[in-house]
C-alpha cells in the first residue's frame, strides 16, 4: 500500500469522524467539563487538608516542583489525551461493529493499521482542542505557572508523548479485538492508568512494587517528561530517559498493535465473527 493510500485512509477517518461528531454536539460538554472537574477535585483534595504553602513545600520534596496546580493540570492534560486515544483508536473496530459498517470497511483494500491510525489521529485532534481549552481555563482558575526554559525539550516531550499515545491506541485496538469486549475493557483500563501513571500525585508516593507497573505504561513517562520541562525548566538531557522510554514504547506498542490487528482480522474471518459484537 502506498503512502498516498495511507494518507487517504487517515484523511477519510478524520473526515468521517468530524462529520459524525458535529451531529453529537452535547459531547462537547463532557469533554470540556470532565478534565476541569478532575483537576478541581485533586486541587481541593490537597488544599482541603493543608494550606497551599505547606503543599508546595511537600511537592517540592516529592516531585521536584512547588507548582502543584500545574503538576495536576499537566497530569490531567496528558491523561485526557490518553482517554481520547483509548476511545478513538482503541475502540475503532468496535465502533464500526456498532454502526454495522465493519464488514464494508473491511471490504475496502486499505491497510487496517492506516484505518486505525486515522481514528487515533482524529482522537488526538478532537480531544486536543477541548483538553487544551479546559486546561487553559484551569490555569487561570487555579493560578498555575509554567516555566519553559528549553522549548526544544518541551516540543520533543509533547510530540513523543502524543506519538506514544497514538501507538497505545493502535495497540489497544488490536488487544480489544482479542476479546470482542472493547467497551468494558476500554472503561476498565481508565481508572488503573489514572492511578498508576501518577495523574494526581507523584508516582514516587506509590509502593515500589506498584511503581514497576507504573513504569510499564508510556503515559507515566509522558506525564513525567512534560512536568519536568514545563514545571522545572528541564532540558533534553534532563528528560532523556523518559524520551527514550516514550520512543521505545511507541515502536513496541505500534508493532504489537499492528500484528494483533492483522492476526485478529484473520481469526475473525476464520471464525466468522467479523460482524458480531
Amino acid at each position: 500500500m502506498t503512502t498516498t493510500a495511507w494518507g487517504r485512509s487517515i484523511r477519510a477517518a478524520l473526515y468521517k469522524n468530524w462529520r459524525l461528531s458535529i451531529t453529537y454536539p452535547t459531547w462537547l460538554l463532557q469533554r470540556l467539563l470532565s478534565p476541569l472537574v478532575w483537576v478541581a477535585i485533586a486541587v481541593y483534595a490537597y488544599t482541603g487538608v493543608a494550606d497551599p504553602a505547606r503543599i508546595a513545600e511537600a511537592f517540592a520534596e516529592a516531585a521536584g516542583t512547588t507548582g502543584f496546580t500545574g503538576f495536576l493540570i499537566l497530569g490531567q492534560t496528558l491523561f485526557s489525551f490518553f482517554l481520547g486515544m483509548n476511545w478513538r483508536g482503541g475502540m475503532a473496530i468496535q465502533r464500526e461493529r456498532w454502526y454495522g459498517t465493519l464488514e464494508i470497511v473491511m471490504l475496502a483494500p486499505t491497510s487496517r493499521v492506516a484505518f486505525i491510525l486515522g481514528e487515533s489521529v482524529y482522537g488526538l485532534l478532537d480531544s486536543g482542542w477541548t483538553v487544551l481549552l479546559a486546561m487553559v481555563i484551569a490555569m487561570f482558575a487555579f493560578d498555575a505557572r509554567f516555566t519553559v526554559a528549553h522549548p526544544e525539550a518541551a516540543l520533543l516531550a509533547v510530540l513523543l508523548a502524543l506519538l506514544a499515545m497514538v501507538a497505545l491506541g493502535v495497540f489497544f485496538s488490536g488487544f480489544y479485538l482479542l476479546t470482542r469486549s472493547a467497551g468494558p475493557l476500554s472503561s476498565a483500563v481508565q481508572a488503573p492508568i489514572r492511578f498508576l501513571a501518577g495523574v494526581q500525585f507523584p508516582v514516587s508516593a506509590l509502593p515500589t512494587q506498584i511503581q514497576y507497573a507504573s513504569f510499564a505504561i508510556p503515559v507515566t513517562y509522558g506525564i513525567a517528561a512534560v512536568r519536568r520541562v514545563f514545571l522545572a525548566g528541564g532540558d533534553i538531557a534532563a528528560v532523556s530517559g523518559e524520551l527514550l522510554a516514550l520512543a521505545l514504547s511507541t515502536v513496541v506498542f505500534f508493532a504489537i498493535g499492528a500484528y494483533l490487528i492483522g492476526r485478529m482480522e484473520k481469526e475473525a474471518k476464520r471464525r466468522g465473527t467479523l460482524h458480531v459484537y
Binding site: 487517504r8 477519510a12 483494500p109
Partner: protein, 346 residues
C-alpha cells in the same frame, strides 16, 4: 475459452456450533451432559463458474448458504477448504487484489453511517478505496445520478427510505468500478415500488455497464426476471444450475395447477397435498376482500389432469370450502425449486 469472472471448486465453509449460553448449560457441559460439539456446514462443496458479464442468480431460502458464499467470494470469510477465484485472483492468497476488483452490496439497512449524508458516505468509502479527490467527486456525482439520488445526496441517510438506502448501497458497491458485483438480497424488506426500482438498477449493471453480477435472492420472481443463469441452492449445496427456462423445463414438470377457493380453512393446503397425484400443495396468495385463497399444486409425473381435477374438487368440498377456479398453469422457477429441493422458498 475466456477465464470466468468467478470460479469456485469444492468450496466448503463450516462454523463451530455455538454452545448453549448460561450457567445451567455450563454445568451440563462440565459434567459431560451438554449437547455434542459439532460444526454446521454453511457451504458444502460448491463448484461454480460465472462468466464475465453474466447476471447470475443464487436462489435459495434463508439459511441456504447464499450469504456465506458471497462473503467467501468477497474475502470477508476464509474457506474451510476448497478454492475460489474472483477475476482470476485467489480469494485467500490475493485477498487485497480481489477487494479492488469486487463490489459488494449487503442487504438490510445497516452498513451505512446514518448520521452522514449520502454523499458523505460515498466520499468516505472513495477515500478508503484510494481514489484521488477529483476522480472521487466526479464518480460520486455520476453514481448518484445512476441510483437516482442526486437530489437527496446532501440529506442525512437517517432520513432516507429503505429503497433509497438500498440504492445508496448499490452506489457504494460501484465506487471502485468493480469487475464483479456481489449483491446479497438487495431488495429484501423493500416495498414493491422500491424493489422494482432496485431490480431495474441492478439489471442495468450488466446490460449497460458490462459488469458481472451475482445476486442472491429468495424471491423467485427476481431470479427469474434478472438472471442469465440461476443456481438453486439449498442447505449449503448447489443442486442445479441453468437458465431460468432450462431449470423450469428440467425440474418444473409439465404443468402446475392453480386452485382458487372461498372459505378455505387453515388445513386445506395440507389436505390438498395429500390428494393422490399431487406432489406438493402450497398457499400462493389470499385476497381478504373476496375471501378467496389461491393454492398452487405440483402434480406427480404422469398424473392425469381429469383424475386430479375430480380429486381436488372432492377434497375442497369435504373441507367445507367452495371451489372458485381450477386452471392449469405453466411451471415457474419456484416450482422448479420446490421439485429440485423438496423445500419452499419461504
Amino acid at each position: 475459452m475466456p477465464e470466468p469472472a468467478i470460479r469456485a471448486q469444492a468450496l466448503v465453509r463450516t462454523f463451530d456450533r455455538k454452545p448453549e449460553q448460561g450457567m445451567g448449560a455450563a454445568i451440563k457441559r462440565l459434567v459431560g451432559r451438554g449437547p455434542p460439539k459439532g460444526t454446521i456446514t454453511a457451504v458444502d462443496h460448491v463448484d461454480l463458474e460465472v462468466a464475465r458479464g453474466e447476471f447470475f442468480g443464487l436462489l435459495g431460502p434463508n439459511g441456504a448458504g447464499k450469504t456465506t458464499l458471497v462473503k467467501l467470494l468477497s474475502t470477508l470469510l476464509l474457506p474451510s477448504s476448497g478454492t475460489a477465484e474472483v477475476a482470476g485472483l485467489d480469494v485467500v492468497k490475493d485477498a487485497d487484489a480481489v477487494r479492488r476488483k469486487v463490489g459488494v452490496v449487503l442487504g438490510g439497512e445497516r452498513a451505512l453511517y446514518w448520521r452522514l449524508t449520502g454523499r458523505e458516505n460515498l466520499w468516505y468509502f472513495s477515500q478508503l478505496y484510494d481514489m484521488p479527490a477529483k476522480d472521487a467527486r466526479r464518480r460520486i456525482d455520476a453514481l448518484l445520478d445512476v441510483v437516482d439520488l442526486a437530489d437527496r445526496a446532501d440529506e442525512r441517510v437517517e432520513n432516507y427510505s429503505k429503497g433509497m438506502k438500498q440504492r445508496l448501497h448499490v452506489a457504494r458497491g460501484l465506487l471502485n468500478d468493480p469487475d464483479v458485483l456481489l449483491l446479497d438480497e438487495p431488495s429484501i424488506g423493500l416495498d414493491p415500488h422500491a424493489a422494482r426500482s432496485v431490480r431495474a438498477l441492478v439489471k442495468d449493471l450488466t446490460t449497460k455497464h458490462g459488469k458481472t453480477v451475482v445476486l442472491t435472492t429468495h424471491y423467485m420472481y427476481e431470479a427469474d426476471q434478472l438472471s442469465d443463469r440461476v443456481a438453486i441452492m439449498s442447505r449449503g449445496r448447489i443442486l442445479a444450475v441453468g437458465t431460468p427456462t432450462e431449470l423450469k423445463e428440467r425440474y418444473g414438470g409439465a404443468h402446475a395447477l392453480v386452485v382458487e377457493v372461498a372459505r378455505a380453512g387453515d388445513a386445506l393446503a395440507a389436505r390438498l397435498g395429500e390428494v393422490p397425484g399431487v406432489a406438493r400443495a402450497t398457499e400462493a396468495g389470499h385476497d381478504p376482500a373476496r375471501g378467496v385463497s389461491r393454492f398452487r399444486l405440483l402434480p406427480v409425473e404422469g398424473a392425469t389432469e381429469n383424475g386430479l381435477a375430480a380429486a381436488v374438487a372432492e377434497t375442497v368440498k369435504r373441507a367445507g370450502a367452495s371451489l372458485i377456479e381450477y386452471r392449469i398453469d405453466r411451471p415457474t422457477l419456484e416450482d422448479a425449486f420446490v421439485r429440485a429441493t423438496g423445500e419452499t422458498l419461504e
